[in-house]
Symmetry: C2
Subunit: 82 residues, 2 copies
């Protein structure tokens, strides 16, 4: 079955409060070398056999627009492995 990986990240211009919190925690734990921490989601799934790669990509993009990402604040990247 083709495997699809979707990476959803907050748009770069938006403040990532979760990332900022993690960065502060890392610094207080002695990991001062970390900066610009940003946190996103990764969604892995299988797509039914027999669907061409282009169609799998288009269907996954529709999933992202409707459910997996918030297109207003997040951007997403789709990778399809046949």
């Amino acid at each position: 079955m083709p495997k699809v990986t979707v990476t959803v990240t907050l748009k770069p211009t938006l403040l990532d409060a979760q990332g900022r919190t993690v960065e502060t925690a890392l610094h207080s734990m002695g990991f001062g070398e970390a900066s610009g921490v940003r946190i996103g989601k990764i969604i892995e799934m299988q797509i039914a056999d027999g669907m061409p790669t282009a169609e799998a990509e288009a269907r996954t993009a529709a999933m992202c627009e409707k459910l997996l990402a918030n297109p207003v604040t997040e951007s997403y990247r789709i990778e399809v492995e046949a």
Copy 2:
């Protein structure tokens, strides 16, 4: 600055309740071709200049063990781009 990407995923043997919920939602929205949906985290950060790649990897692994991942239930993958 070297860029580090950490991907944290639930161990394959564990039930991913969030992924199961998303899969059910996708099916009810007409995306019946999706199966085996699993959701993880992706953490991107910059590491201070001048740290060798091997050290950046080792330091990031320590961050994962102590904060970024739960080593009991999650596995993580580290990629360092110089």
